[in-house]
Amino acid sequence: MFYLSKIEHTLRLPPHLLNLPINQAIKGELEGLFLDKVIADLGLCISIYDIHSIDGGFITPGDGASTYTVMFRMIMFRPFVGEVIAAKLKESDREGLKLSLGFFDDIHVPEHLLPMPKQFEPESGNSNQGRWIWEFNGDNYPIDAVDEIRFRVHHVTYPSLPVEQEKASKPFAPMIVIGSLDADGLGPISWWV
């Protein structure tokens, strides 16, 4: 779900930007700071919506930059538990599915949240990757990358930044959505139309 969140931020405007009109310079700094970043419990920042006020402009001793307190609104992407969202299939393996929205990728549907009874059909030559198939009333309904897939948000976590990461570990995901396909109306659209 997209929300408008009002945020207050104290911003340091580096001196090389002082020749630009103030609103443009501040907007540029805010965009560099916030866009495509996750704020814990607020979600993923998509875009600045408007700037409500810019206060300050003081230069503290010893600093070349001026400091502003900015109140502004941003469009945030923040899924809530129970929300039904349409996504595309990114990966499918024994552990479940990975779905993507294009601008946000960390959506997992673990295998225990897939509709039952289900079966895993491994790809030839690679026993970990494969397709999941739902068996209903004697028919087989596979989960393919063709349709849009509707899932229900099961829960959302915001893991804290790791202090150190080993070289081979997966890139850090600041917001993880766990989804479920286990209800009426969920799964590939072609199952229900």
Partner: protein
């Protein structure tokens, strides 16, 4: 030496908000995909007018979000989008219920309840007839796009 620079933020404030000011969104805390599409499209047009090189200015998250909301909105016309919010606001819905219904556009009462089970929970005013009327009103907007 201590330098103070006082800015008249009111000048800049007016110029800036006039670009993005949309009164209909002031009351909205949640935004439907179609509303976000209008906002981002308007912003993209602004960028194109203001700069010679709009493609570079646009970040990846902006482009991908725009793609997503354009792909998953049922209503493209700004009047239609306004109507959707207006119609759904007539029923006693929470902000998020309104937005999920506007995003998914269920065609039947069963689908609507499956997508947003909270509209039918105990103590709510909505019976099946009211829900059906609401969904019918929604589907009528699509036809006149």
């Amino acid at each position: 030496m201590h330098h103070n620079i006082y800015l008249r933020s009111s000048d800049f404030l007016f110029r800036f908000t006039s670009i993005y000011f949309c009164p209909e969104f002031l009351k909205a805390k949640c935004l439907m995909n179609c509303e976000v599409a209008l906002i981002l499209e308007r912003k993209y047009e602004q960028l194109q007018q203001m700069s010679d090189d709009p493609v570079n200015q646009v970040s990846q998250v902006f482009e991908k979000s725009l793609q997503y909301v354009q792909r998953f909105s049922r209503y493209k016309n700004p009047d239609a989008v306004r109507q959707v919010r207006e119609i759904l606001s007539r029923y006693e819905l929470a902000e998020f219920e309104l937005c999920v219904l506007g995003n998914l556009c269920p065609e039947t009462v069963e689908e609507g309840i499956a997508m947003v089970p909270s509209i039918k929970s105990r103590g709510r005013v909505h019976d099946d007839e009211a829900i059906e009327k609401m969904l019918t009103d929604l589907s009528l907007i699509k036809k006149f796009e």
